[in-house]
Symmetry: C2
Subunit: 228 residues, 2 copies
DNA sequence: TCTCATAATTAGGATGCCCTTATATTAACT
DNA sequence: AGTTAATATAAGGGCATCCTAATTATGAGA
């Protein structure tokens, strides 16, 4: 499990991580950042100060962190590179989701604009990564879609998988193996007691998914007129 | 716990550089390494000791450095990744030589075997990079070709460009613009006094190339029976 | 053999990111 | 208002790579 650590990578991973966590512009607790990056809170805190010094984010003590415009631009640029590489690795090289994600997480830090743009063109300017997440355009604003975690659906509700949250590589592997893909049709058949595992119908196949996993599957609800 | 530290790029660049310089298995002076990497001789010397400690090379003081089998394997693995990426960047993304080389020099450090092999397959297992240098195979030995620098040719001699030495990115750009490519037919028309610039016929076009540049163009001689 | 350019080493620092342990501060809940 | 759990900061290091300046060792040519 080797991770290259040129000193630019660290900064980029902080920014990307913050952008990923702060889905709706909320403040991101430093603790979350530390946890996601597997780093001590002390180190994360130090780094947050450094990044603030560079004008990339603002830290409100005891509340959390918010990216500045500069910081958000940087972060979206990294997400763009990440997701474009994912397209290449999945569609052209035929690699499985987990490798796609892990390799992209390295390549994203060594992709200058000329390379990224050429790759974008070569791929035909895709709009979404293989996991269904939107690819920020070279310039302009990333459109945000309304999504609902599968874990929030009730028995009988139906939807279409829009995207998978990518935080966890292992989970990607798990979902890949179970053919959970953007575009899959999904319907909740049963929820075990105490907010337990979901029995779902996924593109006609019966599956059981734990709640934790279901939280990472983001759905667009399909109008189900009183199916219950 | 998982290390977030991996200063692998530096080590890899040392190994790759040594392999590139030591064309015929000769000892490489530490001074050369330092120069090529734009690093002080003290730092290069330190690093050489470290690499020796890791069993990747042997240093004979006041003579130079030679890669061990391990070191050579590592170096060829890096050259392989570099040249495969170059193929992709040139043929698929259509980037110019200088960018091809510079981007490949970053990507080469972030390419695990699974990625490299998938890329190799996707490219159709090419044998040479866009500059004509051979791509080391996944396993097996790199074949060595007999070459002559263009600067060693006399007036009237002819040959075919086999490959370009890649040390200097600027030079790649220069040669790219002048359509000096592997496979180009070349013939020395005139050599200016004091081993000066060469007037050459390159694929029918008349060109003038400085001696320094000519040293980087490696030729396969064509049997020219008394053309002078 | 002797000289001197070349190569190597020593000494002392700097940088960036990370760590643990200990202490202070604050928000939030009873 | 007072307690407590979460959060922040302070103190003291480690590690890998790189730096400059000064000194020493070597070997190749005069
Ligand atoms: Mn990454
Ligand atoms: Mn993705
Ligand atoms: Mn490189
Ligand atoms: Mn090349």
């Amino acid at each position: 499990m080797k991770e290259l650590h040129n000193f630019a990578e660290s900064e980029e991973m902080y920014l990307k991580t913050i952008a990923e966590i702060s889905r709706h512009g909320n403040l991101v607790p430093v603790t979350y950042i530390a946890e996601r990056l597997s780093i001590s809170t002390v180190s994360a805190s130090e780094m947050v100060h450094r990044l603030q010094g560079r004008g990339l984010l603002e830290h409100t003590p005891y509340k959390g962190v918010r990216l500045t415009d500069d910081g958000l631009n940087r972060a979206e640029s990294i997400l763009r590179r990440h997701r474009l590489w994912e397209c290449f690795l999945a569609e052209h090289l035929g690699l499985p989701w987990k490798q796609v994600h892990d390799f992209a997480c390295q390549l994203e830090h060594v992709s200058e604009d000329a390379l990224t743009d050429a790759l974008d063109k070569h791929l035909g300017f895709p709009s979404f990564c293989p996991h269904g997440n939107p690819i920020p355009p070279a310039q302009g604003v990333l459109e945000v879609r309304e999504t609902t975690p599968l874990s929030d659906l009730d028995v009988g509700q139906e939807g279409v998988v829009l995207c998978i949250r990518e935080e966890d590589g292992e989970m990607l592997d798990y979902l890949d193996a179970r053919a959970v893909r953007p575009g899959s049709r999904v319907r909740i058949e049963e929820i075990a007691p105490y907010d337990g595992p979901r029995s779902v119908l996924l593109d006609g196949e019966k599956q059981v998914l734990g709640r934790e996993v279901a939280e990472h599957i983001l759905i667009e609800l399909v109008n189900d007129n009183e199916t219950e």
